[in-house]
Symmetry: C2
Subunit: 748 residues, 2 copies
């Protein structure tokens, strides 16, 4: 059979247009989950083997094995297998399952630190090569940083910056490899190269020409890599197995060559379903075999591992790599993009049990077929391993029904957008800088400009607002320019040719800033306005504690004023961000997302005027506070909390608004069917109401307390944290305590 036999549509045949191919060929599925098949025998064998390896890895503190002297490239390793004869989909990052590659291009110190901190030796020759002869991203950044940037970083008013790890968050459109084969992609890139620039060689043009040349070389390497596994990927995939394999090879090239913070695979479900459906229709495969291939692909995504430093693990706890896989979603023609494959993918959580990776993400809308919404709610409730994003907002704001999520909540159009990931500024700490005239409350260093401190016994609201604006002005400028340095150097020293080769040459780039501590910032403003906050100063006159004397409204309780305050902060900060010069004229965005770094952010942040105690975790992402301050917390139940979050203006936070909720099963209803229906209805309402994202956990706090006390009983207990899922046992003790302290809603 010819590779395109039976496919419809024309436009996609002559130039790269995967969306057009999907729209002409996918089969919407409106039924329920009754067609699903259990794990095939091969899946059982492979998964059993893999779980054994995972146990070894767990015992060795998350590291099965590590390379120390093979700088990872697409072709640096011999082929590797789990059980060769059982694998329908092949390809490992290195030659041994779970062995972590040596990736020095981002920074030799980090690569060596990852080795040493895990008990491995560094290689002298490699250290010399990547110090004396081959500069790395990390060194480039620190060569250009200003003292002010270093101070802001050290004092953690800006933190988690991708200067000591890869920026990640780029999603190659790996589907292109399956649909077109690599030779066509090379030819198209060569055509592009001939049209980059017209005579005048500005630096922009020179750089892009060099990048496209690097992409062409990368595609050649990927073709070579596939031959190691016995495949010729020159031509398009001929059947479902090849389509999955080719797509995975594209992704494999990315994870072989880049250790980015988030290495997402994108939106591949409907695309692959077209090939599966064709094979099913032709009688070439059975549903059991279809599920088997999907299970094997997902298993590969569960195996992705990167060598990382203790500092990194503090920031992003539980070894996430964000192999985010986006499913479902609506089409702009009114059909949903739900296919049987979306069921198969969720079903992997049943066939192989819950798992943090891939980061399964449902692009949700109340217009999705009810069968799918019910099934997804069921899986969410059972596994606490999946997340939901508002597909109606995505289509309206990104102009495409081919969006995917990079990392946690960051939307990107497949093959057309890339992101300059930028971690986050701590706006809760900025509240304290506004009060203390730019002096850090923990280190007592003058980090911000030498503004006048506030000196009253209590805090005047109007005075505070002016100062807070000044601090945000300063912070936004410093923050964006710090990121300008980082991304200039990332392009220079750790360019992602293997991923960008699968994307348009004429890319749209977003400049993704982020905000941490939004709830504490808003609640502090409310406290200052309404709470008559008494200031306690230390011997140096530095404000170090705050006592709100009156009650005040807080964000997260569907209170208009408090919620509007959170929106005002977002709007004001984003407006300042937009004023700045951004690298490569990228489009500024921001996120309300902390991942698990809310814990380290909180550790570095003093007492806040809302009553939050120094050192305690910030509420993650856009979550309302669940802190120990007297007037804090979500007091009005799940729906009020969701309403507050839904009011945050997505157009100001197009990099995403993360909301993580834990619901006590009993709060959802008395039996499983009721609970599933209620959860689905809650989501329908929340997303129709403009909510952007929901991490759904359905369990009791008691379960977590038991798992904390008896980890051996819960080796696979998986929970959603801010934007990803994690095995509870892999969290640090502090992270576990934070998760346990979060609100578990027992009422709607």
């Amino acid at each position: 059979m010819g590779h395109w036999d039976g496919f419809k549509g024309d436009k996609w045949r002559t130039s790269v247009d995967v969306r057009d191919f999907i729209q002409h060929n996918y089969t919407e599925y409106k039924g329920d989950d009754s067609f699903l098949e259990p794990a095939a025998e091969s899946t059982e064998k492979l998964w059993t083997k893999l779980q054994e390896l995972f146990e070894v890895q767990h015992e060795k503190n998350g590291v099965y094995d590590m390379d120390n002297n093979i700088p990872a490239t697409v072709t640096s390793h011999e082929p590797g297998y789990l059980i060769k004869e059982e694998e329908k989909i092949v390809g490992l990052q290195t030659d041994v399952p779970l062995k972590q590659a040596f990736m020095p291009f981002g920074g030799i110190n980090m690569a060596n630190n990852a080795l040493v901190s895990n008990g491995y030796e560094t290689d002298e020759e490699m250290t010399k090569i990547f110090t004396d002869w081959r500069k790395t991203h990390n060194q480039g950044v620190f060569d250009a940083y200003t003292p002010e940037m270093r101070a802001a970083r050290k004092n953690k008013i800006i933190t988690g910056l991708p200067d000591a790890y890869g920026r990640g968050r780029i999603i190659g459109d790996y589907r292109r490899l399956a649909l077109y084969g690599i030779d066509f992609l090379i030819a198209e890139k060569k055509k592009d190269l001939s049209n980059v620039g017209n005579k005048v060689m500005t630096e922009e043009v020179i750089r892009l020409r060099e990048e496209v040349s690097a992409q062409i070389r990368a595609l050649g390497s990927i073709k070579e890599m596939a031959t190691y596994y016995g495949f010729d990927i020159s031509a398009p995939a001929k059947n479902a197995q090849e389509a999955i394999q080719w797509t995975y090879f594209g992704y494999l090239a990315a994870i072989k060559s880049q250790n980015g913070a988030a290495m997402s695979i994108g939106r591949i479900s409907a695309f692959l379903d077209i090939y599966i459906q064709r094979d099913l229709d032709n009688g070439a495969i059975t549903e059991l075999e279809a599920q088997e291939m999907i299970d094997h692909l997902i298993m590969k995504l569960r195996m992705v591992k990167f060598a990382r430093t203790p500092e990194y693990n503090q920031l992003f706890s539980g070894y996430p790599i964000w192999a985010t896989l986006s499913i479902a979603g609506m089409g702009i023609d009114g059909r949903s993009l739900v296919t049987k494959n979306d069921f198969r993918i969720l079903h992997t959580l049943v066939n192989m049990g819950p798992s943090p990776e891939p980061n399964l993400t449902v692009l949700y809308s109340s217009h999705l077929p009810e069968g799918f919404r019910t099934f997804a709610s069921h899986i969410a409730k059972e596994s606490s391993s999946i997340q939901f994003e508002n597909d109606d907002l995505l289509r309206a704001n990104w102009g495409s029904d081919d969006c995917a999520i990079a990392c946690c909540v960051s939307a990107t159009v497949m093959g057309k957008d890339m992101q300059f990931f930028g971690a986050r500024a701590n706006l809760a700490k900025a509240v304290l800088y506004a009060i203390n005239g730019g002096v850090d409350e923990k280190t007592k260093a003058q980090v911000g400009p030498k503004f006048r401190p506030m000196t009253g016994d209590t805090l005047d609201y109007n005075e505070f607002v002016e100062r807070y604006k000044d601090i945000m002005d300063w912070l936004a400028e410093l923050y964006v320019n710090t990121l300008n340095v980082i991304h200039f150097m990332h392009d220079k020293y750790a360019y992602e040719a293997e991923q960008l080769a699968f994307m348009e040459t004429d890319l749209k780039r977003t400049f993704a800033t982020g905000i941490a501590g939004i709830s504490h910032a808003a609640d502090s403003m409310m406290a200052i306005k309404h709470g008559n906050v008494k200031v306690i100063r230390d011997e140096d006159g530095l404000a170090v504690d705050y006592v709100p004397q009156n009650e005040f409204p807080t964000y997260g309780n569907d209170n208009e004023e408090a919620d509007a305050c959170a929106n005002w902060i977002l709007d004001y900060f984003m407006t300042q961000i937009k004023r700045q010069h951004t690298y490569r004229n990228s489009t500024p965005t921001t996120s309300l997302l902390t991942i698990t770094s809310n814990v380290v952010y909180g550790k570095a942040t003093g007492n806040t005027p809302d009553g939050r105690r120094a050192g305690k975790p910030l509420a993650p992402g856009a979550n309302p506070s669940y802190q120990d301050g007297k007037f804090l917390g979500e007091k009005n139940g799940l729906l009020a909390s969701l309403n507050s979050t839904a009011k945050l203006e997505y157009t100001n936070a197009r990099d995403g608004i993360s909301n993580t909720q834990t619901i006590n099963p009993n709060g959802l209803g008395k039996d499983d069917a009721t609970r599933v229906n209620n959860l689905r209805n809650v989501m329908d309402g929340y997303f129709d109401n403009g909510g952007y994202h929901l991490n759904v956990n359905v369990f009791t706090t008691d379960l977590l307390l038991d798992a904390q006390a008896h980890p051996e009983k819960y080796p696979n207990l998986t929970i959603r944290v801010s934007g990803y899922a994690v095995k509870f046992r892999d969290l640090t003790p502090e992270q576990q305590a934070d998760v346990i302290s979060r609100t578990s809603h027992d009422r709607m």
Copy 2:
């Protein structure tokens, strides 16, 4: 004695200002050469040893030995010596005299090609490192080149581009190291770094911050390198020996780390004389010891060697490295800058015989003391090893009396300017493109735009001029943009931190384009206008030969119309060059300079309308034609030739106008004293008249013919070619034939 004891002036003490130091402290010398001393015993021993090594090198085709697996950096090699106990000034590029270092950063293919073509093996590991992990300048350039650029390069309408070798021509102000010591320079660069940019991180700012950081690291490495030789260069030099040694260490760092086409040392004569004079005045040294140290320094400069490819040697024949050393010159206060040291430096050509390196360059003015002008004329006549540049033009056009020459004729202000060297466009070949509608006359490829070819049996002048302008428009744009690519990539992959560390952070940059074939272009225009040129076409209708039927005026004979034509071409082309976008907003300049590449340029250029035969060398630089066409050649003697060259407008060719002349001794006068006086008078007149540069050769053609036939008789015969000196025996047979065919003026 304190390092600055006895020195006058204040400004130079607190911030880097070497010129201010010189102006306050140098002793002008108006006497003759009678004070000079012969070679010291140590000099004799060292020079004898070095000549033995040179013989071995000559027998091994110019390569004494080569590294293949130590990428050269400032600290990559153990110290090396010629005869350790005899050397007053120490420091070698590698650990063994004349051993050529392995320099892969510019291009691993070139570095390997240099090895293989000289019979050395390449190192597999190095090839892997500099292919897979560390990109090089050469690869960067070819990644960004357009097909049009490749075609222009391949067809040699633009040629000699520094894309397969280092751009060179950067002169660090190495005197700074002696005057201030390295710690002060590091502190000043750190101060600079803190003031590069103000908050907004544009790419310009980021890049410069990274560069200054690299410079600071480089200074640290140089300090370390000096310790290998037993010196602590933290503090300023305390005496003449240290001043010479510190200055040389600065230069040594450059030649250890960069294989640039021209590695000039700049203007160090008056500066070092200050230290020598202080030591002489204090009775710390004798004149014999002063000469000994200068001889040893010059000997080091004679030893500089780089691994180079056969292609490079074709372009720049005789292994030049352009350790150009500029002496004399006038001060803007009316004093000359001539010191005894200028005599000592010229005297090295007596003490150790003539030598191509360092490229001794007299910054000439008729206002220089007569004693020096006479001595310099004497040395020029005796050695044919030195060149002269018009210091009056330099001061007027560069606003400084601290200029130096980089390479051959390119002026640069010490420590303040750098140059983006850009080889040259072949304007003789462009004449043929204008006639043939952009089709190359040798390869028949369509290289330029598809303009209409000229079709008449004879060439119409007005029609030709319009077409020639169109071709120059196209060529200037393509040429400048090709150079934009090269310099972007050079900064990116082979940045000269070790040299730029000795220069201002806020540099002025010139963008040095160049013109080859000016005389043939001008003579062809004259032929077309006055010569009724008959066109001969081949079977494809391509114009391949030209027969001027009438006599026509030619450039080089003091003919107003022909000389004005040459100036018109220069002015028109330079105007087009100035229209273009230049990398880093550098200031466009051009040169009339071909070095020895006039031979390869000519080889690639078909018959020209002036009657020059296909494949014959172009006249070098700005030289008038000496070709075999019926109406060509300098017919009116030396002075007419010099007058023509002097009319070329220096403000349009601020990168320099190269003029090489050979004078028959008998043409200069009947005895030595007369000859010296006449030569000096010729130069006074030529430079007063606005001539920019003169390479002086004084010998007969018979001498060269004898040297061609009996090379063994003339191991040290040195002659001036276009902008440098060379040992005659090191020229290729073609180059020797070219030099012999040049006009040897036997009348004034």
